[in-house]
């Protein structure tokens, strides 16, 4: 063998070995690379793929015949729910309504819930002015007693990414949605293995011709990989990584899984600070319906937006969005995914978008409260990523009206009293308003401050402020409540409002009235209606602060209560929400409700994790609660809260003002038979407002209740069977018979009414004295002879 040939073979062998070695090591490295990619892909695909924030919903609105649709802002509610207004004639799609002069049609959307799903249904409301006269289901014509609108979304618990999405399953989606997306994003999705070389070549050619990057060659799988694993940078290395990962994903998972993941991941625009991800969420945001209900034109619009979610936003760029939508429809037809007739009809459809839901910022204090309550049970990360659905007790309308009443009420005060205004947000006049349903304890509205953006501190639930006279009802309740068989006072008693000095460990305490005067002997009603401090302090001294504190705790006050003589005058610092619950006990006849903020909690798979249970406990005799309510009705009629009627508010109101020393805290706590409302105003760093609560807090309370009820409060306070209404002589406080010149009706617990009659000289009004409960005159003294005395006088 020639030498040259041997050398040549040697070189070839070295070359072959080198190539083999490089190939081996290259293959080894490539295998390692692909294995590491595979690990990343599997970790993401087989773990939790998406972070889905938990959503919070309001309680549903209920429509029924006799309801004032203007008062409850029905059209506004429909708009907030994303309903679209359509013409009177023709068929309505779910999520559409048509409003006429005497009738309104609403095609309700389906509402999915594990125990209370509602089907989509078409209803017609016959209207008479502002009243709903009748509700019928179409096309059956069946009359309906009540119809539920779906709960309104009020917010979500976002993680750091602030991504909002609603997960969908592929089989739930209409075929035309998949066709639209594939037609424009990846028409050979079913054929390629992650990379579409034909598409890449076509895009390359188109870009060369245009002299700029006009078309992308990425498949759906590549886009998914890019969004899931990679950064948005446009480098060759990233592109290579994207292609490699796409191959891994295609090798590992089937097309069904890949497409479903893509449809849930794809970014489709922005709503404020929140990013909209996935077709499920986008369907709700754009069209106010679930993705399964999307029509052809709507599906094509979603597909159109994918290319440039912000540049083609149908809200900001409607014309561009429609042009692109129509292009998508043409591509669908060209690819045989749509016939010409359907395409033409869809192209002719105008852009019909859901109304933009106003920012739910007003409910953010309530959301914070929910988050605090739920974080005792669930890990914070669960709330942010597990896609729970939280159905709350919040009444969207009440919440909105509460926020308006507080914001405008505070602004009005600052206008009237410029010294209250501060340019520094931290020193601004603050306030809070909480409203609940007394019988059930459901929290209906919570506004913890005038502006959540500048201060997230919730003054209704996190602040404890002195209550002032708003605490007095607990002292009167303790005095009116039977103790060892008899109450300390009845409403026939007189109280002493002359100067008083009580010795305390820190020296003598001399309570003063707001007007700096004393008023001598006053009735119980006069004492509370005018919020006399001295009479109340004397009563409290006789009843005992411990009994007052015990009663307040029973009704729901949990803050520490100092056992001091000034307790009855509101020296204790209490959170407004505690006061609300305690007054709810008076409103519901001595039955204390548990506070409720959640109706139920559903996980992402539709299982109920938790549901509320109404809980009550009788903590006070019904009669005593009624007497307190009656006293507080007097406060609203004739007393310090009588300005509540100034704007024509009609119906039963029980209320108490509260103004602390130096006017640092102003309260109006009041209730109707169906609503307890607490308003507090003051500064975060206490300083004097130099106005009473009737000027500061009362107008806010009045505005809220006026707006909620339309000026006519419904119902009445239930008078229990153990309370008697008896006519007494207003002067002598004895029972007034027919011969008495003056008389007034007064309430008494059964068996505690005065037994003397007016004019017989036997009844002398007495005071509760010496710390001993006064008992009405013994019945044996009088009752047997009363009838005969009456006979003697009248026959």
């Amino acid at each position: 063998m020639p030498r040259n040939a041997r050398r040549g073979r040697g070189l070839l062998r070295v070359l072959a070995l080198t190539i083999a070695g490089v190939g081996f090591f290259g293959g080894f490295l490539a295998a390692g690379y692909f294995l590491s990619l595979d690990r990343s892909v599997r970790a993401r695909f087989e773990g939790r793929r998406f972070e889905v924030p938990s959503r919070v919903f309001s309680t549903p609105s209920i429509l029924y015949p006799g309801l004032d649709w203007q008062l409850v802002d029905l059209r506004g509610t429909l708009k907030r729910l994303g309903f679209r207004e359509a013409g009177q004639a023709g068929r309505l799609e779910p999520g559409e309504y048509a409003w006429g002069e005497s009738r309104a049609r609403i095609h309700l959307q389906a509402f999915e819930h594990p125990t209370r799903s509602e089907p989509a249904r078409d209803v017609v409301l016959r209207l008479d002015g502002s009243l709903i006269q009748e509700i019928r289901e179409l096309p059956s014509g069946r009359e309906l007693g009540a119809v539920l609108l779906e709960p309104e979304p009020i917010g979500a618990f976002y993680g750091s990414s602030r991504e909002q999405r609603e997960l969908v399953k592929l089989e739930q989606l209409p075929p035309h949605l998949l066709d639209a997306i594939l037609a424009v994003e990846d028409q050979r999705f079913e054929e390629h293995r992650g990379i579409d070389l034909r598409r890449i070549a076509g895009a390359l050619l188109a870009n060369l011709r245009a002299g700029a990057v006009r078309q992308g060659g990425s498949t759906v799988t590549q886009q998914l990989v890019k969004n899931f694993f990679l950064t948005p940078e446009r480098t060759l290395r990233r592109k290579f990584q994207e292609a490699a990962m796409a191959l891994v994903v295609e090798a590992r998972y089937d097309k069904h899984e890949i497409l479903e993941a893509y449809l849930n991941e794809i970014y489709l625009g922005q709503r404020g600070p929140t990013a909209i991800h996935g077709v499920g969420e986008a369907a709700h945001v754009f069209f106010g319906k679930s993705a399964r209900e999307l029509g052809v034109a709507e599906s094509a619009l979603l597909a159109a937006v994918i290319q440039s979610p912000n540049g083609l936003s149908p809200y900001r760029e409607p014309e561009r969005a429609v042009r692109r939508r129509n292009l998508v429809l043409e591509m669908m037809e060209q690819q045989g995914r749509l016939d010409a007739e359907v395409r033409a009809k869809a192209q002719a459809e105008p852009l019909r978008l859901a109304a933009v839901t106003p920012d739910p910022g007003d409910a953010r204090y309530f959301l914070d409260l929910l988050r605090r309550q739920l974080s005792d049970i669930y890990d914070e990360s669960v709330l942010e990523t597990d896609g729970l659905r939280i159905y709350s007790t919040l009444d969207r309308r009440a919440q909105r009206l509460a926020a308006i009443a507080l914001r405008e009420g505070l602004a009005d005060l600052e206008k009237r009293y410029p010294r209250l205004h501060s340019e520094q947000p931290a020193r601004a006049l603050q306030g809070c308003l909480v409203a609940l349903r007394p019988q059930t304890g459901e929290l209906l509205a919570l506004v913890g401050g005038r502006d959540y953006a500048t201060s997230q501190f919730d003054r209704c639930t996190q602040a404890r402020r002195q209550t002032g006279s708003a605490f007095k009802p607990f002292a009167y309740a303790a005095a009116l409540e039977p103790f060892q068989g008899m109450p300390a006072i009845t409403l026939a008693n007189l109280l002493d409002d002359s100067p008083l000095e009580i010795s305390t460990p820190s020296g003598p305490w001399r309570p003063e009235n707001y007007d700096k005067r004393s008023h001598g002997m006053v009735t119980v009603r006069q004492a509370i209606e005018n919020s006399f401090n001295i009479a109340t302090a004397r009563l409290a001294r006789d009843v005992g602060s411990r009994r007052i504190a015990d009663l307040a705790r029973r009704t729901g006050i949990q803050s520490p209560l100092p056992i001091v003589p000034s307790l009855a005058l509101g020296v204790a610092s209490v959170a407004p929400i505690e006061i609300a619950r305690a007054y709810a006990t008076f409103a519901s006849g001595g039955i204390r409700p548990e506070l409720q903020s959640i109706e139920d909690l559903i996980d992402a798979d539709g299982h109920t994790l938790d549901r509320r249970k109404l809980r009550f406990e009788r903590v006070m005799d019904a009669g005593t609660a009624y007497l307190v309510t009656s006293l507080l009705e007097g406060v609203a009629e004739r007393g310090t809260a009588s300005a509540l009627r100034a704007t024509g508010l009609r119906g039963p109101i029980a209320a108490k003002t509260g103004t602390t020393d130096r006017e640092q805290d102003l309260w109006l706590v009041g209730y109707t038979p169906e609503l307890v409302v607490v308003v507090w105003i003051g500064f975060d760093e206490p300083r004097s407002l130099k106005i009473p609560s009737s000027v500061g807090a009362l107008p806010i309370w009045r505005r809220f209740v006026q707006d909620m009820t339309g000026g006519q409060i419904r119902g009445r306070f239930p008078k229990p069977a153990n309370v008697d209404a008896i006519e007494i002589d207003p002067v002598t406080r004895a029972v007034a018979l027919s011969g008495c010149p003056e008389r007034q009706s007064e309430y008494f617990l059964a068996g505690t009414a005065p037994t003397s009659v007016c004019g017989d000289g036997s009844f002398v009004p007495r005071l509760p004295g010496g710390g001993v409960a006064e008992r009405p005159p013994d019945r044996e003294d009088d009752s047997s002879g009363e009838f005969f005395r009456w006979l003697r006088r009248h026959l």
Partner: protein, 171 residues
């Protein structure tokens, strides 16, 4: 005066008979226990809507859909928080699920509201007594339970003879 005494006796006799006839115990037929559909049309718009929701709930209860029923009762209270019949229906459901303490809480509310609205008629009494008895039994208070259930059975044997109030019987 001599003639006056027999006349007086005669008058007293007549008065006594009239009084007895006026009371339900001797001559009047025993009132049928209340069924809630009978009061469905009473009250203002909110009360009527609330009553419809209570009836819907009872229908769901009768079909064994207790959670749906409960939701209807709660919605009834959302429309009219002072509807005593919603609490009555909730009490019945709590008794059925052996939750005596809750049943007693609901009955407290129902009784308070019925009394306040002058709706506590003899037709409601058997239900109040029977449900309270059944609630006490569920709570383990057999002595109090037997007495009340016996009273309910006496007042409304057609309903309370078996010691139970079905959703259909209340509806």
């Amino acid at each position: 005066m001599i003639l006056a005494r027999p006349v007086l006796v005669w008058l007293v006799g007549i008065a006594l008979l009239t009084g007895c006839a006026g009371s339900a115990s001797i001559f009047a037929p025993r009132p049928e226990p209340l069924r809630l559909h009978e009061v469905a049309g009473e009250g203002d718009a909110a009360r009527r809507a609330s009553q419809r929701l209570v009836l819907q709930g009872l229908a769901s209860d009768a079909e064994g859909q207790t959670r749906l029923a409960r939701r209807s009762y709660e919605r009834a209270l959302q429309v009219d928080a002072n509807n005593p019949f919603a609490y009555l229906a909730l009490a019945r459901q709590a008794v059925e699920s052996d939750d005596g303490p809750s049943a007693l809480e609901y009955l407290e509310q129902a009784e308070l509201l019925l009394g306040a609205e002058d709706l506590r008629s003899p037709r409601v009494e058997p239900h109040l007594a029977g449900l309270r008895g059944a609630a006490l039994r569920a709570r383990g208070d057999e002595r109090g339970a037997s007495e009340l259930l016996a009273r309910a059975s006496e007042l409304a044997p057609s309903v309370w003879d078996d010691g139970q109030l079905s959703a259909e019987e209340l509806r």
